[in-house]
Symmetry: C2
Subunit: 336 residues, 2 copies
């Protein structure tokens, strides 16, 4: 009989996440009750924000609980339905467990329409990372053609989309990444005008000035820490910092100080703005429509790093935090 | 014969400004040439931003030069006019020297209309500090009735006005200041709902939570440093930080780090925004109209700290940086 394999939070990480923080358990499948559905999970989204949920800190989403199955954005197929809104064979997206099968009452699920795009794209370029790139660039950054956009973690799930959207909008785009291979990909595949490997840089500020000689109008910030400081120091007057992520700080045991020289926020008339993409449903829908046709006609490029099997989800997550992925990191749990 | 007494920058301060950084010189008055006017200076504005101009750093206003006469917002009376746009006896405002008499070609000067308000008010509540309070609160902070506004340096030239404007708008207003006398004044004169003396506080975060138990919607930031960090940690979701000043950092020899925990900008959907008040001329004019009538009917309170004589301008400036003033710091150079 088929059993459900699940990844649970064994302990809260202090500092860097390790595989010891996870435990794999198995249990027999329970039949869905009236109103519920059983979902066979296919693709799991691996995202930086999950690291925050591993800490016992109140935020816009509640923390994971020790002993409980972890959660992720998930695409699955309805295997058994006792809910009138869903039929067996429907493909759905929802926040579900790190597990091979999930039971849901349908709340918060959405059906994924059949399109020519591969299913997994709905976790990335057609999903939350894509929407985050679009909302961040246009609604928060208010990018204008001709402006210079700098993206940190530029080859990541969000960054690799931001760069392409900014180019489409007529911006100059520069970025940084953690390996020479990623940097090459930024230029050759994702259309970045300039990029550098920050791990090879002896002075981030100098490296940044080389790729953005006239300064930065929009810093699309995914990394935080020293890269954020160098970007802040390179901002042009009236610049905007789109605060999307601070992955360099997610594994810190103690809170790290912010960038030096924040006084420039006043003198240069800067705006630093955080955002939660789910607050922008209209812009998100607008984006998905555009992105679908851009993918069809080849305007947008997309890259995924795929781990195989739910038992590899912890390693995929740790690897993503260390920057091992290129493009969107996902886990394939089952074949469709 | 009348001579012109002037305060020049003797040397750039490293760290705290001292009187050694200034020198007093005297020279004979020169007659204005064709198109020029001679202005007898009456009131000089002493403002925190001047500290930045003493460093050799490019900003939105150029640095003061060693050996040169320092500049300030100044109100004076036209003593001799060889410019058709100005008549003797006109009262004017402009960026003029720290000196008893200034020669100007009229560029950048504005005439001050005769109103019932004391002349010096045009350097404060009816001038740039007032406009800064209004633009910051309404255009940058987008204050809404019922929201909680926290003001640091709350009894200063800008802060004492912000609090009153926020109360008029239906906000709850809390602030901090550096002496018990100032704190009493915040409550009794400027209408603050709650305030604390930050020099007596053993834990700024605790003190802040006592006066803002439900958190802060708008942080009107004049101080920076530890107070900014405590305010950032106390922000409510969707909060705005109006970045007006960082007086705690103006005398730093080295750039200080920003607040710890900037990640909350993302999770709480915060905006940190700097601004330059001269970019908002319409809102500024709108404010001056309102403030004039609010002063007439007693709705707005105003307080000044006045130093006597141009030779005391350096001490007044140093004292203002140390927080010795209550309300707007000015220097009376001559009687009207």
């Amino acid at each position: 009989m088929t059993r459900n394999k699940q990844i649970r939070l064994a302990s809260r990480p202090s500092g860097w996440v390790t595989t010891d923080n996870f435990t794999v358990t198995e249990e027999s499948l329970t039949d869905p009750e009236d109103g519920e559905l059983l979902i066979k999970n296919i693709f799991m989204s691996v995202d930086p924000y999950m690291r925050g949920r591993m800490n016992d800190v109140k935020s816009y989403i509640p923390p994971f609980q020790v002993g409980e199955v972890l959660q992720a954005g998930m695409i699955g197929e309805v295997a058994v339905s006792r809910n009138k809104d869903y039929a067996e064979g429907d493909i759905v997206f929802g926040m579900l467990g790190w597990e091979t099968f999930s039971v849901s009452d349908g709340m918060g699920l959405s059906k994924i329409p059949k399109t020519s795009a591969p299913l997994s794209y709905h976790l990335g370029i057609l999903g939350m990372p894509g929407m985050t790139a679009y909302v961040g660039l246009h609604k928060i950054g208010r990018a204008k053609p001709g402006e210079t956009v700098f993206v940190s973690a530029a080859s990541g799930g969000v960054g690799s989309i931001v760069g392409q959207l900014a180019k489409l909008h007529g911006c100059r785009v520069a970025g940084c990444a953690s390996t020479d291979a990623k940097v090459a990909m930024l230029r050759d595949k994702f259309g970045y005008d300039a990029a550098f490997n920050y791990r090879n840089s002896t002075c981030l500020l100098t490296s940044l000035r080389e790729i953005c000689p006239d300064g930065i109008d929009i810093d699309f910030e995914n990394v935080g820490g020293e890269i954020f400081e160098a970007a802040l120091w390179s901002m042009r007057p009236n610049g905007r910092v789109v605060m999307c992520g601070m992955i360099s700080n997610y594994n810190d045991d103690e809170l790290q100080p912010g960038p030096r020289g924040m006084m420039s926020i006043i003198g240069k008339n800067l705006t630093i703005q955080g955002f939660i993409v789910t607050n922008y449903p209209e812009a998100s829908m607008e984006y998905v429509k555009k992105a679908s046709s851009w993918l069809e006609d080849g305007t947008l490029e997309y890259h995924e790093t795929i781990a195989e099997g739910i038992e590899n989800a912890p390693l995929a997550f740790i690897g993503m935090l260390k920057g091992n992925n290129i493009g969107k990191q996902i886990v394939r749990i089952a074949d469709i």
